[in-house]
């Protein structure tokens, strides 16, 4: 089995996790910029984090034979402070030419506030100006429906944005149709409690088809399972899906989306 982990917060994970992922057939990891679990106090904190994502973590992943890619942004959880967000957005272009940068992400909304929406639109503008792919985080739990609708509307209002170059992540049964029908890619995040279980993700593949859809573990500093993607592949096998179909869902689909940037090259 081979698979791509298209959304993993590897700076939070141990070397044991890297070993387990490599042994399970992981071909590469892609790490969106994330909230640290606490608010960073200045733009310098973000500068250091972007250095970690573009220099130090790729070197750590390489020790396990894993190519490491990243996405840059200030996370929506820190977007209420618009001034800080603007300062962070201003330093991102310095990092866009680093060899492992795939685009802008994970941007989006958290509590669906006006300021979060403003900062989201600033990120979309940055991506459009620099012709970057976009990875979007949709809000948690009761806020997801409203946030997904606001995000889709904002993206449709920006005529520079090509939907096939945007992936909207953490979809569930009540948001997947809106995302796919609007022409975007959709990501299903496999979490033990919130977001989506393996069984439900496979249900959504059965219902909505195998195009413009990927799965990720989003493994981070919270309760999450770094091997969620290969575990779901095993469950797909139990449900009678063919090896070719499983390969499409866990390897070829993310490869197709990510290959839209010339920086994404698998050895």
């Amino acid at each position: 089995m081979r698979y791509i982990e298209p959304h993993g917060h590897m700076v939070s994970r141990t070397t044991d996790d890297y070993t387990a992922m490599a042994m399970a057939g992981c071909a590469c990891v892609c790490e969106p910029a994330f909230w640290a679990g606490f608010d960073r106090s200045s733009v310098d904190g973000f500068y250091d984090y972007f250095c970690q994502l573009t220099e130090h973590e790729p070197a750590r992943a390489a020790k396990f034979g894993l190519p490491h890619y990243t996405w840059l942004c200030i996370n929506p959880k820190e977007a209420e402070d618009v001034k800080l967000a603007e300062e962070v957005i201003d330093i991102i272009p310095k990092f866009l030419d680093k060899p492992n940068v795939l685009g802008i992400g994970e941007i989006g909304l958290n509590k669906n506030s006006r300021n979060e929406l403003r900062v989201f639109e600033k990120h979309v503008d940055l991506a459009a100006k620099h012709d970057q792919l976009i990875l979007i985080h949709t809000p948690h739990l009761e806020d997801k429906l409203k946030g997904t609708r606001l995000i889709v509307d904002a993206l449709k209002n920006d005529k520079r944005i090509k939907p096939e170059r945007v992936i909207i992540d953490h979809v569930e049964e009540h948001t997947i149709k809106l995302v796919l029908d609007s022409g975007f890619w959709a990501g299903m995040t496999l979490y033990p409690e919130s977001k989506c279980t393996s069984a439900r993700a496979i249900d959504m593949i059965d219902i909505y088809g195998d195009e413009r859809l990927w799965m990720n573990s989003a493994c981070d500093w919270g309760v999450s399972v770094p091997l969620a993607v290969p575990r779901t592949a095993l469950e797909m096998k139990k449900r009678g899906h063919s090896a070719d179909f499983i390969d499409k869902m866990i390897y070829q689909n993310p490869l197709k989306f990510l290959s839209q940037t010339p920086r994404f090259k698998l050895p």
Binding site: K77, E80, N110, K111, N112, S113, R114, N115, E116, L117, P139, H140, L141, E142, D143, K144, L145, K146, R149, L150, E172, E173, H174, S194, A199, R200, D203, K238, R239, G240
Partner: protein, 86 residues
């Protein structure tokens, strides 16, 4: 998968979750104090399980969701509770 195969693969897991929900409601009954809005939202969402398919999961999620459309004036907290406070 046939219905028989779905039952073979998932019945025991779903049965365990069903009993867990029943025990959770019993635990709430035994506990002192008043419940907050989440219990009402939970009971309301449970009614979706008794409706006709095929989209019960979607209906449960919609039942627990914020259906307003205007952005919030300000984000005063970071977390979510799992149910919308009417």
């Amino acid at each position: 998968m046939t219905r028989q195969q779905v039952l073979d693969l998932y019945f025991m897991e779903a049965r365990a979750k069903l009993i867990d929900i029943a025990a959770f409601l019993d635990r709430l009954d035994r506990a002192p104090g008043e419940p907050d809005f989440r219990l009402r939202a939970f009971i309301k969402a449970m009614h979706e399980l008794q409706t006709e398919g095929p989209n019960r999961a979607e209906k449960v999620l919609l039942s627990l969701s914020d259906h307003t459309t205007e952005p919030l004036a300000k984000a005063t907290v970071k977390g979510a509770t799992g149910a919308y406070r009417q």
